[in-house]
């Protein structure tokens, strides 16, 4: 197998069969919960668009609701592409602008207070995001920095100390948790189940907020590598503009790639590294396939294992401390 290691190892044997298997599983699990359909948040990205299309096939479009939940920092494309995905899937949508809820929580204020402690000039009109150093460029610990963009175009980058890092993340987590609260509101109102949209990379590596986008009743694509989600997207007729949109977190006021925020590499290479870790493929073999050195791939492997250790908490259900 190692001789032919490359993107082909992830290719689905038959996309239509995979779709049938998933939609059958969705019907089975949702029926087991005695729910009648599914609710999901639409982000205009590939994962939620695919889950919307799968849900429409599983339950019929009339038994699925897509929620559009933009906020002040959302990309202008988010709403348009989310509507496009819903239309392609044939499901109705409801618009819930969550900015006022986030303001009431103090989401933006708490986040900006933390940014301003690190970048004292930070204030109204500034934009910011948090970024990680590349695993590829050096073996330094992956510690977050804030990148702040002044209204006059100046850019400032500073390492985030522990307290500020935690406050920024805690504040922005209001976004995912608010969206999930609304998903459950509509699910309860309609007697539907909440459909989660993580792919295998996100699910395995803990790229989600506990009790935020990590919460759901059913996770239909959590077993699929992101490359496989793209395969399904094509088979499901997801519009090309959505399929070609670069994955983004859409969480901060400055555009932020998933590599800056979480993953070591673009998704297609991350998929192969994750597969390699789980199937005992050596770093040197992967390196040849994805155009990196064996040392760089070894660092990615270590990052994968480190994220698994951290994500154990994110996956954990509440624990009872005394068993009877």
């Amino acid at each position: 197998m190692t001789k032919s290691f490359g993107p082909q190892v992830l290719r689905l044997a038959n996309a239509e069969m995979a779709i049938d298997q998933i939609t059958e599983g969705m019907r089975r699990e949702v029926r087991a919960f005695r729910r009648k359909g599914g609710v999901l948040g639409l982000s205009g990205g590939i994962d939620s668009s695919v889950v919307a299309a799968l849900a429409a096939r599983a339950f019929g479009g009339d038994n699925v609701l897509g929620l559009l939940m933009p906020e002040a920092d959302s990309s202008p494309d988010t709403l348009r592409l989310s509507r496009m995905a819903a239309e392609a899937a044939g499901i109705p949508t409801t618009l819930e602008v969550i900015t006022p809820i986030l303001e009431a929580f103090g989401c933006y204020q708490r986040r900006d207070e933390a940014f301003a402690r690190v970048v004292p000039e930070y204030g109204p009109g500034w934009k910011a995001k948090i970024v990680l150093p590349s695993v590829i460029d050096s073996d330094s610990f992956r510690l977050f920095s804030v990148v702040a963009l002044a209204p006059d175009g100046r850019s400032i980058k500073e390492r985030l100390p522990l307290e500020e890092y935690l406050q920024v993340v805690a504040a922005t987590n209001f976004k995912q948790r608010t969206r999930k609260t609304l998903e459950y509101y509509h699910a309860d109102r309609l007697n539907y189940a909440v459909l989660g949209t993580p792919n295998r990379l996100e699910y395995d590596q803990g790229f989600f907020v506990k009790n935020g986008d990590g919460a759901a009743d059913v996770k239909p694509i959590a077993h699929l590598y992101k490359s496989q989600v793209y395969e399904l997207a094509e088979a499901l007729g997801i519009p090309a503009e959505i399929r070609s949109r670069p994955p983004t977190t859409d969480t901060y006021s400055m555009p932020q790639s998933q590599e800056e925020f979480y993953f070591s590499l673009p998704y297609d290479k991350m998929d192969l590294c994750l597969f390699a870790v789980d199937n005992g493929v050596e770093a040197a073999t992967v390196a040849e396939a994805i155009g990196l050195t064996a040392e760089q791939v070894a660092r990615v492997f270590m990052d994968i294992q480190a994220k698994r250790r951290v994500s154990a908490y994110l996956h954990a259900a509440p624990r009872l401390v005394v068993e009877e």
């Binding site: 510690l143 480190a306 250790r309």
Partner: protein, 96 residues
């Protein structure tokens, strides 16, 4: 409290105490090998590294610049001790 000398035994003791106090080591850190990787042993994750940096900066009064946040400086007790001692010797103190 600041340490202004490169007394490696004092640094070692302080680092072990910090690890024991903050990372729930049943042994109190006594059986952690000086050269054992703290990340591989599951003692430090990336948030733990941030805590360690904050500890070094506050306790020893030396700054840890971005370019020094490398495993070769911070991923074992021995490496931390050597790094802190060298920062103290080189005068990397942030303040008195």
């Amino acid at each position: 409290m600041s340490v202004h000398t490169a007394d490696t035994r004092t640094i070692d003791r302080a680092v072990r105490q910090f690890l024991a106090d903050n990372f729930i080591l049943d042994s109190g850190g006594a059986d952690l090998g000086a050269d054992e990787s703290l990340t591989q042993a599951g003692v430090l994750d990336s948030m733990g590294v941030l805590e360690l940096i904050m500890f070094i900066e506050q306790h020893f009064g030396v700054s840890v610049p971005d370019e020094d946040t490398l495993p070769k400086n911070l991923d074992s007790i021995a490496r931390i001790v050597t790094y802190v001692a060298s920062r103290l010797t080189r005068g990397g103190a942030t303040s008195d």
